[in-house]
């Protein structure tokens, strides 16, 4: 049961890692090995990554709107993923720095046996962590196939991770639980049932049919949805643990080779260490010169080496940094794109636009915005211009269907009626906001300039259209309506000109 819960997994890993960190610090004090101390701090950074992910998961469970956040905190996981990715990049940077340091000043490993032991222990813990977070790992597929296989999806244990997290009401607040359990009484929704018990869920399957909301699909889609937004977060953690595992591998390999091949300088007796370039070098050369003078002593000089062993560590670190950066970059990109309010990649705004425009009853569309809140929650808004309210009523459902087909389920459609003059055809921002607020509108300032460029726009309102309106249609409208109606200007090309970086 422990393994199904995302939070529980994070907590387990957190406890283990922190414990190991403490152990490593103690060992490094005992053996006074600086390398182990720095390795232990890598573990600490792991701990911090886990903490960030944990905080994000706890936040993201509150999907309800609150006073401070009308969307709930669903986005917290995307933020957690971004923080982890940036953190990892910074970590790579510092590892790079250390590796370069090692190049200029190579160190020998003292007491390689201890290092091997601790390295192996760390590696084991990291591998355990990798297994824990594995199916949230590098790939982005998750439970997409869970859709429609509600039973199957639920019963699969290892994939059961995110499921307990689903019901929005199942947050920490007992209040939520209370409310959702009353839901159960009234309409037998499986919402309120604690999802931690798979058995209960199976029972609720039949009841679930009662409530149209909690039918087969929504819970599955919740699985999918929770999974894909939680996935980003878990991927961040996975990458951290992966990086740590690589680090442990390097430590172990290095120590093993060192133990096997290194020929250390004995404590006593003259020793020539050609690899370490420090002030002792002069003494070493001096002693070497002295010893050469005396042939009989020459054989007793031990030469520490082979030197390339000292450079093995930095080289391996460099390779590790490259691997880490390569795997972190997609995560960084994905979470950044969501946070930038971009259109999700599976949706093509232009085709959506044309589909909407070809509906009869729809004269024009502007202010079409599509963005992804988190996971599969995609939100869209549009202003649709119709000749009159009754046409709008007829067309409204079709519009929603079109959005639904694209996967956009939360939409806000604003109808604007050209026949009603007061809205001056734009309605996007009425009189109070027309001119003064240009800069503050979501698309204000840029369009202001471009609007001036196009001949057709009147000087009054601000053109904020991203969409090309077919001119014949609008001309017809223009003749019908009051002259103050403004044509949606064809600013598309101009804006694209601006947008090409």
């Amino acid at each position: 049961r422990c393994w199904q819960n995302r939070r529980a997994r994070l907590l387990c890993m957190l406890a283990l890692t922190f414990l190991f960190f403490v152990v490593e610090v103690a060992v490094s004090r005992v053996t006074s090995s600086l390398a182990m101390l720095s390795d232990s701090f890598h573990m600490l950074s792991d701990v911090m990554a886990l903490v960030v992910a944990l905080v994000a998961v706890r936040f993201a469970q509150r999907t309800r709107a609150t006073k401070k956040n009308t969307f709930g905190w669903v986005r917290a996981e995307v933020m957690g993923a971004l923080v982890n990715a940036v953190f990892l990049t910074a970590l790579c940077f510092t590892i790079l720095l250390e590796a370069i340091e090692r190049f200029t000043e190579p160190h020998e490993i003292q007491q390689p046996l201890v290092v091997i032991a601790v390295g192996v222990a760390g590696l084991i813990i990291n591998l355990l962590g990798l297994c824990l977070f594995n199916h949230h790992g590098v790939g982005g597929h998750g439970h997409a196939h869970g859709h429609g296989h509600s039973h199957g999806g639920r019963q699969q244990h290892p994939r059961g991770g995110p499921k307990p997290e689903q019901p929005p009401g199942d947050g920490e607040a007992a209040l939520h639980r209370e409310e959702t359990s009353t839901l159960v009484e009234n309409c037998s929704s499986s919402n309120g049932v604690s999802q931690e018990k798979l058995g209960d869920m199976k029972d609720d399957m039949s009841d679930v049919q009662v409530n149209g909301n909690a039918g087969h699909y929504p819970l599955d889609e919740e699985e999918v949805e929770e999974d894909s937004s939680a996935q980003l977060n878990m991927r961040g953690v996975f990458l951290h643990v992966f990086g740590d595992a690589l680090g442990s591998v390097i430590v172990v390999v290095n120590a093993l080779l060192f133990y096997g091949l290194w020929n250390p300088c004995p404590e006593d007796g003259p020793c020539f260490n050609p690899c370490v370039n420090d002030h002792c070098m002069e003494n070493a050369t001096l002693s070497q010169a002295l010893s050469r003078a005396n042939n009989s002593e020459q054989e007793s000089i031990t030469v520490a080496g082979p030197c390339w062993l000292l450079y093995l560590d930095p080289v391996l670190c460099l390779i590790m940094v490259c691997i880490l950066l390569y795997t972190t970059y997609p995560l960084l990109r994905e979470s950044a794109l969501i946070l930038l309010q971009t259109v999700p990649k599976q949706i093509d705004v232009h085709s959506l636009n044309s589909k909407l425009r070809t509906l009869e009853g729809v004269e024009a569309i502007h202010e079409l915005h599509i963005w992804q809140l988190a996971g599969s929650r995609i939100i869209g808004t549009a202003h649709i211009k119709c000749p009159d309210p009754s046409t709008y009523m007829m067309v409204a459902k079709r519009i929603k269907e079109i959005f639904h087909d694209e996967g956009i389920h939360a939409t806000t459609i604003q109808p604007e009626f050209a026949s009603v003059g007061s809205e001056s055809g734009r309605g996007k921002c009425e009189l109070p906001c027309r001119t003064q607020c240009a800069l503050k509108q979501c698309c204000g300032a840029g369009e202001d300039r471009t609007a001036k460029k196009t001949e057709k726009s009147s000087s009054l309102s601000i053109s904020c259209s991203e969409v090309v309106i077919e001119f014949p249609k609008t001309r017809r409208t223009k003749s019908e309506s009051i002259p103050s109606v403004k044509l949606e200007a064809n600013t598309d090309q101009n804006e694209q000109f601006e947008s090409s970086l």
Binding site: M79, Q209, G212, N213, S376, H409, F417
Partner: protein, 413 residues
């Protein structure tokens, strides 16, 4: 060329200068075999990275529309600032670790004179950077593409004045992110200079470490705390925007209260207010009205209320309710119930809706009414026709009946 404002060209200049400094320092460090110089070079490199992030933020955020993003990339500024501050925090963490290691294993500063010279020159360059930034980014008005100085402020109406400042403030977020790094660098140089000066004046020679060796780590820790204390507010501010939170100047309860009192509005729900980037607030809401004319009148007043609250991009979805629909719940969510999990706010949960005349707190709304979600049959605009839902909808009627009873019977708080 509208693309290059004074700001981004200065950023580019600073990037180039930093790159040159980095190259010089790393080569001198290699030749002279000095560790501290190598680490200073890397500090410059991290500074460079942060400026590149800042530059990207500035350049991208000017894009108003792109096929990949209907909002343009105006959020790039905010994201750049966030990235920079997290990066700075991570770097501070590693510097903190180094300082702890120095405490445990104190080392003397060798070749104090050389380090002193490098430290002073590093400090000089950092101060220069800071001055360039301050001058370019806080003194003129950089309203996007305008190269001229303060003229925009004079030309537009007084209402534009505060807006210009707001735009400056929004870009300032990104610049603040870069400034964090500049400050970190400068403080680091200060620490290096102080330590080197002490070691130069009172050299330790071959003696073991005394109190002098502990100055470096302690000053470093002080520096870490200073930087962190300025990084955290920046992180808070940017995450407010990135998490789609209600912008600071907007009081949701007051706003929804006023909106609910607009004549013609029976109820509202799905009210969302968020900030795209500093100063640009966006709102969407669904209002239930009795008739289209009600809606027309109400729409104007609603916008006015939003305008006064500082929200200028508003999208209002009218829903014309029958009397037996719930006043609170959306008459037209997506076309089928199956999509509920994809809605930004699940319809299953008690909505934060307001009806005219009384406040409906989400926690206190009857849970039974939640099942009203199924009662879309009575919806005028968007009848639910999903074939899968047929049977579930029938079943839902049980809930509907109970719901109606509760609705008629309740005095609704």
């Amino acid at each position: 060329m509208g693309r290059y404002s004074g700001r981004s060209s200065r950023l580019i200049l600073m990037c180039v200068v930093s790159l040159a400094i980095f190259a010089v320092e790393i080569s001198v460090a290699y030749v002279g075999n000095s560790l501290s110089l190598a680490s200073d070079a890397f500090a410059v490199l991290s500074h460079l990275i942060s400026m590149i992030i800042g530059l990207f933020g500035v350049r991208f955020s000017r894009v108003r529309w792109h096929k990949d993003s209907t909002f343009g990339f105006s959020r790039a500024d905010v994201l750049g600032a966030f990235g920079n501050s997290v990066f700075a925090t991570a770097l501070m963490f590693s510097i903190f670790v180094e300082a702890i290691k120095r405490f445990i294993n104190p080392q003397k500063t060798e070749k104090a004179l050389l380090v002193l010279i490098i430290g002073v020159s590093g400090l000089f360059f950092n101060v220069l950077n800071y001055v360039i930034f301050m001058e370019c980014c806080y003194c003129h008005a950089p309203p996007g593409d305008n190269e001229t100085g303060d003229s925009p402020n004079d030309q537009k109406s007084p209402e534009e004045g505060p807006e210009k400042k707001k735009e400056k403030k929004s870009e300032a977020l990104n610049i603040r992110g870069v400034l964090l790094h500049v400050m970190g660098d400068a403080l680091g140089s200060v620490v290096v200079v102080v330590t080197a000066a002490i070691f130069y004046v009172r050299p330790l020679g071959g003696a073991s470490c005394n109190w002098q060796c502990y100055i470096d780590p302690s000053l470093t820790i002080v520096m870490v705390f200073i930087i962190l204390s300025s990084a955290f507010p920046l992180i808070k501010e940017t995450s407010t925007i990135l998490l789609q939170m209600v912008p600071k100047g907007v009081n949701m309860e007051l706003l929804t209260d006023r909106l609910a009192h607009v004549p013609g509005v029976s109820s509202l729900h799905e009210v969302h207010v968020w900030e795209l980037a500093s100063g640009k607030n966006i709102a969407t809401l669904h209002v239930k009205c009795q008739s289209p004319t009600d809606y027309q009148d109400a729409a104007y007043k609603i916008r006015k209320i939003f305008h006064e609250a500082g929200v200028h991009s508003v999208t209002i979805q009218p829903e014309y309710a029958d009397h037996n629909t719930s006043q609170l719940l959306c008459s037209s969510p997506c076309i089928s119930k199956a999509c509920d999990s994809h809605l930004c706010c699940s319809q299953r949960e008690p909505p934060r809706a307001k009806t005219n005349g009384y406040v409906e707190k989400s926690e206190s709304s009857l849970p039974a009414r939640l099942k009203d979600n199924g009662s879309r049959k009575s919806d005028v605009e968007i009848p639910m026709e999903d074939p899968v839902e047929e049977e579930s909808v029938k079943n839902v009627k049980n809930c509907d009946v109970s719901d109606d009873k509760s609705q008629s019977g309740s005095t609704r708080f």
